[in-house]
């Protein structure tokens, strides 16, 4: 496995001149490998978006270093590095630059001086990948939130990025929109070997990840597989999150004296356990 992004003791404060306010991100380290799906979870204000901005060089850490493909992120190489990272932000309206869908997808290509014929090819390709090619001439205010987010993903894909960062990209969407976006991202990962870093509050969404980084008040509280993180149980609730449905159910059932063997992440597992532990003996 090859390392693609790493934080090494990164600290960032929006107000370094006020030592009493807590740092937005404090002493955070982790490594992400190529092809992984990582999720960052944490309460409102725990520093997740700040981390996304640090990764793309929108902010520079006051301490520590960030490496992208083992290269340290500096003021000099940010433009090069940005072209390898795609970010989709939370508010679908505030990141749509172009007048129409195709203009928006082309925006990053234009910025990077991609020749015209190549641009046309890439725009169509990217829109096909997110299944929006029928909307090529639509204006943003005629699209739903989920569709706008898919266009934003296409805009990122057009640059053939190595890493796709989703900063709560689904949190302003309705359930259908959320579903649309997640399905597309999952499909893409298989299709083009993308590394995905998703920031979210949605624990069911976090279950999709290979690994979860759990933030609390600017610090990394825990890191591990979904099983490991959700085993923290009450800590999750205490730090602003919640337990996934199946786990909550497991606990409640056990409190009712129902026999269950272990902790369960998904409903299927739980139902199976219910069956084997209680009926199928």
């Amino acid at each position: 496995m090859s390392e693609i992004l790493s934080f090494n003791q990164v600290t960032y404060s929006y107000t370094p001149e006020e030592p009493h306010t807590r740092n937005a991100v404090e002493d955070v380290s982790f490594t992400i490998n190529k092809g992984e799906w990582i999720t960052i979870v944490g309460h409102n204000g725990s520093g997740k978006s700040t981390m996304a901005k640090l990764m793309s060089g929108l902010l520079m850490p006051q301490q520590g270093e960030i490496r992208i493909k083992r290269e340290i992120l500096t003021e000099e190489n940010i433009w090069d590095i940005r072209s390898q990272i795609g970010i989709v932000f939370q508010n679908p309206d505030n990141q749509f630059v172009g007048a129409t869908v195709q203009d928006d997808v082309a925006f990053s290509l234009e910025n990077n001086g991609v020749p015209h014929e190549e641009m046309v090819k890439r725009v169509h390709n990217a829109l096909r990948q997110v299944k929006m090619e029928d909307f090529i001439n639509h204006e943003p205010h005629h699209l739903s939130g989920g569709q706008k987010q898919r266009v934003a993903i296409a805009g990122a894909l057009a640059m053939h990025p190595q890493i796709l960062i989703l900063d709560e990209a689904t949190s302003m969407l309705d359930p259908q929109g959320r579903e649309e976006v997640l399905t597309i991202v999952e499909a893409l990962r298989k299709e083009i070997d993308l590394t995905v870093l998703a920031i979210t509050h949605d624990l069911e969404e976090a279950l999709l990840a290979d690994r979860i980084i759990f933030m609390n008040a600017g610090k990394k509280y825990a890191e591990g597989t979904p099983e490991e993180i959700f085993a923290l149980g009450d800590d999750l609730v205490q730090f602003g999150l919640d337990m996934p449905f199946a786990m909550k159910m497991t606990k409640l059932l056990q409190a009712q004296g129902v026999q269950l063997v272990g902790q369960h992440m998904t409903e299927e597992e739980l139902v199976n356990d219910l069956w084997t532990s209680n009926f199928n003996k």
């Binding site: 404060s13 929006y14 107000t15 370094p16 929108l58 902010l59 520079m60 006051q62 003021e75």
Partner: protein
Amino acid sequence: MESSRSISTSSEKTKDLIITSLLISLVFVATFFINIRLPIAANGGLVHLGSAMLFIIAILFGPKKGALAGAFGMALFDILSGWTLWAPFTFITRGLQGYIVGKIATMHGKNGGSFIYNLAAIVISVPFMLGGYYICERVLYGNWVIPLASIPGNLVQNAVGLIIAIPVCIALKKLPLFK
């Protein structure tokens, strides 16, 4: 808004450009969409807030943004609502007006915070606006008298703009955003 050390100059420029763009949109929206019903005969009493918005922007953001927002925002309104022919005149006249208001309101380090300067800025800009339209319409109608007809309407617009802009500026000045 963020700490100085993280921001390169290119990003400041980008942000500035976008803010100006949104100010243009705001002038347009105020002209096209925000109406206030007042007991004035003109227009059935509906007065738009375009001029007020233009004054507010010029006072808070200075001559350059004032001029751009006025010129583009108001000309865009003309183009998009059937006054295409007037758009170039509006562009010049309203741009000039935004510039004058912004220039005077931010003179002598006042930065849009002085009641007297803001008032003077708007009042002084009015003759320029009226004159600008007068000259342009003179060309259009080939007559010295007809353009006089639009003066009362323009005066009302400016007066309402003044009455609204001055208190709103005071309120906005208190925001962390504009300190």
